[in-house]
Structures are given as C-alpha cells and as structure tokens.
Symmetry: C2
Subunit: 185 residues, 2 copies
C-alpha cells in the first residue's frame, strides 16, 4: 500500500501495532470521527444514561454527588448517513465459537426490531477478539435467529453464513459503511 | 417476535392529568412516547453527557460519587421517521418579541448544518411560553438567519414569516411530525 511521499509501511507490523490495547468501542468511535471529519456520516455514541440522586452546587456549578448508571433502553449508536437513519449496537466477545445473547438486552432487540420495521438501517457489530474477526449482522437476521432458535447464544457459523465481515483497515478502522453501501445501494 | 413480559405501555389515560404545568421538554417526550407506542416514529432525547470523576463500588454496583454535566455537542433529539433521519433541538423562552440565540450553542448549530447538508431533516422547535406559540424553524432558515444577520436573537416576526406553527393538541401534545409531513412529502 502506498502512502504519500512514497513511504511504504509494512502493513503486517502496522496491524499488530494499531490494535494494541484498543477495543471495539474505541475503534468505532475513531471510525465515526473519521466519517464526521470527512462529512460522510454523522453517527454518535449515546451517553450512558445516569440517574442522579444527589446534586450539589459548587461555585454555581452543578455537581453530581450520587448517581447511578441506568440500563440503556436503546442501542449505543445512531445517526445519519446520506439521508438514511442508521442504528446499531457493538459488542465484543472472547469466546471462540459463539456470541452470548446476554450481551444484548431484550429492550435493545425490541428497539432494533422497531428500527427495521420503520425502514431504518439496524444491525449489530460483533467482534470475536481472539479470532480477530468483526462481523456486521443485519437486524433482520438477528431477529430471525432469536425468533427461530431458542438458544442463549449465536454460534459463529451463523455469523459465517449470514453476517458480513468488516475488514480490518488502517483508516477508518472499522469501515462498517462499506458494508452498508454494498447492501443498501 | 417474542417480547419480554411487561413491555406493553398503555399510558393514554394518564396523560391529561400528568401534563398540567409541564414544559416543552415534557410535552415533546410525551409526544415521542406517543409516536413510539403507535410505531409511527422512534425519536429519543439523548441523555445529558456526564463526566464521572469519582466512582465507587457498593455491593458490586457502580456508583458515581462525583460527576459533572458536560455540554452536549449535538442536539437533544434524534431518531427515525419512515426511513428518514430526524434531528432537532427544542427550547422555550419567556420573551415576547425575540428568541435569544444564546440558547443554542455554536457546535449545535454546526451539527444542524451537517445534518441538513447530508440530507437529514434538521430543525429547532421554539416555544414562546407567554404567547403560547410553538414554532418549528427549519435548519436551513436558522442557518440563513445566522449567516445573514449579525444579531444576538431572532425576532418573532422571522418565526411568523419563515417558521411553521405547531398547533397545540390534546394528543400528541406537540405534533411536529404533522409539519414534517407537510414539508417533506
């Protein structure tokens, strides 16, 4: 791969380096920042909802002195891509052969169902960290699996059959819009 | 699809009682709940972002012992309506003749600009509480005003000329999708 000024970087070394210590969430946040900088898409991670139970004012500034993290009722990411609404949840697992469904709450699954029923683009991104594989599974295939199979987890062969691989890239790191383009255009 | 028990919401009877004395934010939240219940649209208020600076664990539960409210970098509301991406900010003012632009941060204006440039539906909802008038002003008309007029506030006659009245209704309270329908269809 050629970089500006003819510098050639050994890409295999580079790949090792770039993921060191970075999780899927960081990779997606950097990807979204890349999309926003290039004005390709505007997709944001929603802040974790908080229940503040004690608030004090110090120098006229509101400070939370006691607060609890609430369970999100929707997915973590949503936004705009070329006029279309995009919505997804991202999870990683250390397991080698399956993705436990306990990673996704039932109200998040209901939310994804609502999104696809209303013509939004809804999916999950799942990274099998030990296999170094990142998949995009469409909302409809996630729901199909849950409706059809009474299991606690999705086997990796379901991802191999139904999901789309998101190739590991230098920039953006997790180029999920490339997959979206191939499906929706 | 199978839903968990207790997910069905039937709130229609409580609404009139509950909204007496409520502000624009509550009205919009109830409107969004109505849209979601009817599966018309899925539009959510983003949680206020928090910077947690001290966290403790009590009985394995994460508790914030010190946290600060951060300034939102985007608008408060976004979501999906009929495949389209919708994004807006809602504000009320007690003034009679103008809406102070200090109510909307510059990065929120930039965000709205990004949204409309990428074919999303972006606007602000402004309620003049003492006049009992609620307006929907399109993002492009907001940006036009800011680009053209070097003023600290938008006079109400600009709303009268350019914005759309959102009629006060029983249910949903602030039926902004009626305006969206008239403009985008």
């Amino acid at each position: 791969m050629k970089y500006p000024k003819g510098v050639v970087i050994n890409s295999s070394q580079n790949i090792e380096y770039k993921h060191r210590g970075m999780g899927l969430e960081d990779d997606i946040n950097m990807t979204n920042q890349y999309y926003a900088d290039k004005e390709i898409a505007f997709i944001y991670k929603k802040p974790t909802p908080i229940q503040a139970t004690k608030i004090e004012y110090v120098n006229n500034r509101k400070i939370i002195k006691e607060g609890y993290f609430k369970e999100p009722s929707t997915t973590d990411y949503n936004g705009l891509y070329d006029g279309k609404y995009i919505d997804f949840e991202a999870k990683e697992t250390n397991l080698l052969t399956s993705f436990p469904l306990s990673n996704i709450h039932s109200h998040q699954i209901k939310h994804i169902n609502n999104i696809i029923n209303n013509r939004g683009i809804g999916f999950i991104i799942v990274r099998f960290t030990k296999l170094n594989k990142t998949y995009l599974l469409l909302g409809k295939d996630l729901i199909d699996y849950i409706d059809t199979c009474d299991k606690k987890s999705i086997p990796i062969r379901y991802f191999e059959e139904k999901a789309y691989i998101i190739e590991d890239k230098y920039m953006p790191r997790v180029d999920y819009l490339e997959v979206v383009n191939n499906i929706w255009r």
